[in-house]
C-alpha cells in the first residue's frame, strides 16, 4: 500500500505534465467509449430482439414480396401464436426530404399483437383502425416533425408512385411509445389495405415480409423450418429465422465499417499508451539520480520497477475514472440523444453499455502498466555508479 502511495506521489512532482497526461487519458477514454457505443447501439437491435419472434421473407431477395395468402398458412403453423405482415413504403416528407424515418404499410388488426413492445392508447388504436388513411407514428418522430393527432400528412414514396393530383395523404391517428430499447421510435405505420387498393394490379395482394410470434421461444428454429418447408414446393420460397438472427444478418452489409471502428478504437488506446509512456519515461530520466540513491540504499531493482509501474497505473486510473465519469453525461445526454432522435433507424438506443465502461477502465489500467514497462525495465538496468554520477 505504502509503495502505491509513494509511487502515486511521484506524479505530483510535475503537476502540469501529469495534468496533461491525465487529460490525454480522459480524451482517449471518451473517444474509446463513443466508438464502442456506436458499435454497441448498431448491434443492439440484433442482441435484444425478443426471442419469441420470427421473420419470414422471400428466400431469394428481400425486395420481392410474398403472396399475401402465405399469411394464413403461417398463422396456422403449430406453435405460432400470431402473425402479421408489413410492406416497406419508402416514404419521405416532400417538405423535409433529408429526414429519414421508416414507413411501413401494416396489418392493423395484428401488428400490435406481434409488436407488443409498442404501446398505443386504446382509444387512439380504435380510431386508427376505423380510418383507412390513418397512421400511427413513433413519439420521437412525431415530436420532431410537429405531428399531432388529427394532422394531415402527405408523403411521397420511392416505391409506390402517386400522381400529383392524388398524392399519398394520411391522417395521424395515434402515437406509440416504446417499452423496449430496441424499438425504433420513429416509424410511420399505416393501413396495408390503403396501399393495396391503390397499387397496380400486378403489385396487389403482396406482403413484404411476415412476422410471427411463437408460444415457446425454444421452438423458434423448428417452427422456422416448418414454415419454410411448407412453401418449399412453391415458386416463391421463404426464408425464416428468429428476429435476432434476422437483424444480425443485416449487419454483414456493414461488417467493414464495424471492423474499421473496432480497429480505430484500439488505435486510440495506442495513442493513449504513447502519451502515458512518454510522460513516465521523461519522469524516470529526470530522476535517474534518485533511483541511483535508492539503489545505493539497498532497495531492490524490482522495487524500483514497481514504483515506476505504480506511477503510470495511478495516472491511468485517475484518467480512466474521470473519462468514464465524463463520458456518461456527454454521450448519453449529448451525442446519444441527438443520434436517437435523428438517426433512430440505425441507433435506436445510443447508450453506454455497462460492459463497455468496465472494459474501458480495464484497458486504462492494463495499458498504463504496459506503457511503463520500458521505463521500468530501464530503471532495473541502471548501474548505481552511473546513476549517481549523472547530472541533469
Amino acid at each position: 500500500m505504502n509503495t502505491l502511495v509513494l509511487s502515486a506521489r511521484n506524479l505530483s512532482r510535475n503537476r502540469f505534465r501529469t495534468g496533461l497526461t491525465v487529460l490525454g487519458v480522459v480524451v482517449a477514454m471518451l473517444a474509446f467509449l463513443a466508438l464502442r457505443t456506436v458499435i454497441y447501439s448498431w448491434t443492439v437491435a440484433a442482441e435484444v430482439a425478443p426471442k419469441d419472434r420470427l421473420v419470414t421473407r422471400n428466400k431469394v431477395t428481400f425486395i420481392m414480396p410474398l403472396p399475401k395468402h402465405y399469411v394464413e398458412r403461417v398463422k396456422q403453423t403449430p406453435g405460432v401464436k400470431a402473425t402479421t405482415f408489413a410492406n416497406w413504403f419508402g416514404g419521405r416528407d416532400p417538405n423535409n426530404e433529408r429526414e429519414m424515418f421508416s414507413t411501413l404499410a401494416v396489418d392493423t388488426n395484428t401488428i400490435f399483437e406481434v409488436y407488443t413492445e409498442m404501446k398505443v392508447p386504446e382509444e387512439q388504436l380504435a380510431t386508427w383502425k376505423q380510418d383507412r388513411t390513418g397512421a400511427i407514428v413513433g413519439d420521437v418522430i412525431a415530436k420532431k416533425m410537429g405531428w399531432k393527432l388529427g394532422d394531415k400528412v402527405t408523403l411521397i414514396s420511392g416505391i409506390y408512385f402517386a400522381p400529383p393530383d392524388s398524392p399519398w395523404t394520411f391522417t395521424i391517428r395515434g402515437i406509440y411509445a416504446a417499452t423496449a430499447r430496441s424499438v425504433d421510435r420513429s416509424t410511420f405505420m399505416f393501413h396495408w389495405n390503403y396501399l393495396n387498393d391503390r397499387v397496380p394490379e400486378i403489385a396487389r395482394d403482396q406482403a413484404g415480409w411476415l412476422i410471427s410470434r411463437v408460444t415457446d421461444p425454444s421452438q423458434t428454429a423448428n417452427i422456422s423450418q416448418a414454415i419454410d418447408r411448407m412453401f418449399d414446393d412453391r415458386d416463391i420460397q421463404t426464408a425464416s429465422q428468429d428476429e435476432r438472427s434476422f437483424n444480425a444478418s443485416f449487419l454483414a452489409s456493414f461488417s467493414a465499417v464495424l471492423k474499421a471502428i473496432d480497429i480505430v478504437s484500439i488505435v486510440i488506446l495506442c495513442i493513449m499508451m504513447l502519451v502515458l509512456g512518454n510522460t513516465i519515461a521523461m519522469g524516470v530520466r529526470e530522476r535517474t539520480n534518485e533511483y541511483g540513491v535508492l539503489r545505493a540504499l539497498g532497495f531492490s531493482r524490482n522495487y524500483l520497477a514497481t514504483l515506476v509501474v505504480g506511477e503510470s497505473v495511478s495516472a491511468g486510473i485517475v484518467g480512466g475514472v474521470a473519462g468514464v465519469a465524463l463520458a456518461y453525461p456527454l454521450i448519453e445526454n449529448g451525442i446519444g440523444r441527438w443520434l436517437e432522435e435523428n438517426m433512430g433507424m440505425y441507433f435506436p438506443f445510443f447508450r453506454i453499455a455497462p460492459g463497455t465502461a468496465l472494459l474501458a477502465l480495464a484497458f486504462a489500467v492494463t495499458l498504463s502498466a504496459v506503457a511503463a514497462l520500458i521505463p521500468a525495465w530501464r530503471v532495473t538496468q541502471l548501474d548505481v555508479i552511473d546513476a549517481l554520477r549523472r547530472v541533469e
Partner: protein, 387 residues
C-alpha cells in the same frame, strides 16, 4: 535566425520521447487519411460509372434504380424523345431491370444484397465499358450470368462455374467474369433481361431507362420532354449526377465519421506532442538562456521551438500518410446506403486526401508546440547562469 540544424540535433538527442510523439501524430494522420481515401474511393468508383452524355430515367422520388419501376410501353416513348442518339437507325436507349439477391458474404455472418442487372442486347448501344476477362459471355436468353470482377470469390455462389438461385429450381450459373474500367458495374451481376424478369415475376416492368444522347448539351431538352407529363411521374437525370447522388450519402457518412474520430485522436496526439515539447523546453533552459545571452530575440526563440514541433509533426504526418498509402490497394466491400446493395471499392490516395491529412498534422504540431514555445520565449539570459 537560430539555425535549423540546432532543432534537428536537439530532436535527435531525445530520440525516444520524440519518436513516441511522432508515432502519436502518425496514427492520427493514418486514421484521417484512410477515412478520406475511403470516401474518395467510393466517389471514384461510382463517379467513373456515370457519363454526362448518358441520361437515366427513373420513377420520380425513387432515388435509385432498385426502387423504381416503369411499364414497358413507356420505354418506347422515352427513347423516341429528341436528343437521343441514333445508331444504325435505332435509338440508343434501353430499359433495364435491376434487382438485388441476398447472398452470403464469405468471411462474415449473414447475407448481403448483390445487385443484379437484366441486360438486353440493345444495351451495347450505350457503349458501356465491358470486357470479359475470365470465362465467356452469357448466351442470350439463357439462365447464364456474368459477374463483375470485384464480386468474384467474395460472395457465396459468385465464382466461375458456381451458381445461385433466382427462384426454385432456377439457378443462375456464372459463366464469365467481366471488368468495366473500375466502375460500379464491377460490383454487379449481369443477367439476361427477359430471364431476370420472368424468374422474378416482373413481366412488363423495367427499373430504369438509359439513353445515350447526341451530346451532353442535349440533356436539358430531353429532360423537359420526359418530365413534361407530370402524370407519368418520371425523372430524367444525367448518369453522372445519378451516380454522384448514389455516392453522396455513404461518402459523407465516412468523411464525417472519420473526421470526428480524427479530431478526438488528434487531441490525444497533440497532448503527446505538448508533453514532449514542454519536456524539451524545461531540459534546455540553460541552452535557451545562452541563446538569449548571445542576443537572439524572444521571437526567434519562439519561432525556433514552434519549428521544432512542426518538424516533429511533419515526420509523423509523412509516416502516417506512407502507412495509409501502403494499405491503399486493400479492397473494401460495404453496403451503399443509397442503393441498398454492396459496392466493392478500393481506397483512393488522392492528393487532396493526403494533403488534408498532412495539413492536420501541421496543425497538431503548431497547436501542440505553441504553448511550450511561449514558455521557452519567456526564459531570460539570467536563467542560463543560474541553472
Amino acid at each position: 535566425m537560430i539555425p535549423l540544424k540546432y532543432n534537428i540535433r536537439s530532436l535527435w538527442v531525445r530520440k525516444t520521447s520524440n519518436l513516441l510523439a511522432v508515432f502519436g501524430v502518425a496514427l492520427v494522420v493514418f486514421v484521417l487519411a484512410t477515412a478520406l481515401m475511403l470516401s474518395a474511393g467510393i466517389k471514384k468508383t461510382l463517379g467513373a460509372t456515370g457519363h454526362d452524355d448518358v441520361a437515366i430515367v427513373i420513377r420520380k422520388g425513387s432515388e435509385a434504380e432498385l426502387a423504381s419501376s416503369i411499364e414497358d410501353p413507356t420505354v418506347g416513348l422515352v427513347t423516341s424523345q429528341p436528343g437521343v442518339a441514333q445508331v444504325n437507325g435505332r435509338a440508343a436507349g434501353v430499359g433495364e431491370t435491376v434487382l438485388v439477391v441476398a447472398l452470403e458474404k464469405n468471411g462474415a455472418a449473414g447475407f448481403t444484397n448483390i445487385q443484379v442487372r437484366g441486360v438486353a442486347p440493345e444495351a451495347t448501344l450505350l457503349s458501356r465499358p465491358f470486357t470479359i476477362i475470365k470465362g465467356r459471355s452469357a448466351k442470350p436468353g439463357s439462365d447464364e450470368v456474368v459477374i463483375g470482377k470485384r464480386l468474384e470469390g467474395r460472395f457465396r455462389g459468385l465464382e466461375l462455374g458456381k451458381s445461385f438461385d433466382m427462384r426454385r429450381n432456377r439457378p443462375a450459373t456464372v459463366v464469365g467474369v467481366f471488368s468495366a474500367q473500375g466502375t460500379s458495374y464491377e460490383s454487379e451481376v449481369w443477367a439476361d433481361a427477359e430471364t431476370l424478369r420472368s424468374a422474378f415475376g416482373r413481366p412488363g416492368l423495367v427499373s430504369s431507362i438509359r439513353v445515350r444522347l447526341n451530346s451532353a448539351s442535349a440533356f436539358e431538352g430531353f429532360r423537359a420532354a420526359v418530365e413534361q407529363d407530370k402524370r407519368m411521374g418520371l425523372e430524367a437525370i444525367t448518369e453522372r449526377k445519378y451516380y454522384d447522388r448514389l455516392s453522396e450519402g455513404t461518402s459523407l457518412f465516412i468523411t464525417v465519421l472519420g473526421s470526428v474520430i480524427a479530431v478526438f485522436c488528434s487531441l490525444g496526439a497533440m497532448i503527446g506532442a505538448m508533453i514532449t515539447m514542454y519536456g524539451a523546453v524545461s531540459n534546455r533552459v540553460r541552452e535557451i538562456g545562452t541563446l538569449r545571452a548571445l542576443g537572439f530575440p524572444r521571437v526567434q526563440v519562439l519561432a525556433s521551438f514552434v519549428i521544432e514541433s512542426l518538424i516533429l509533426s511533419a515526420a509523423g504526418g509523412v509516416l502516417g500518410c506512407l502507412g495509409a498509402v501502403a494499405i491503399g490497394s486493400v479492397e473494401i466491400s460495404m453496403m451503399n446506403f443509397a442503393s441498398w446493395s454492396e459496392v466493392v471499392f478500393r481506397l483512393d490516395p488522392t492528393p487532396q486526401a493526403l494533403g488534408i491529412a498532412l495539413v492536420s498534422a501541421g496543425f497538431m504540431g503548431l497547436l501542440g508546440g505553441l504553448l511550450p514555445a511561449l514558455r521557452a520565449a519567456r526564459v531570460t539570459a539570467l536563467a542560463a547562469m543560474r541553472g
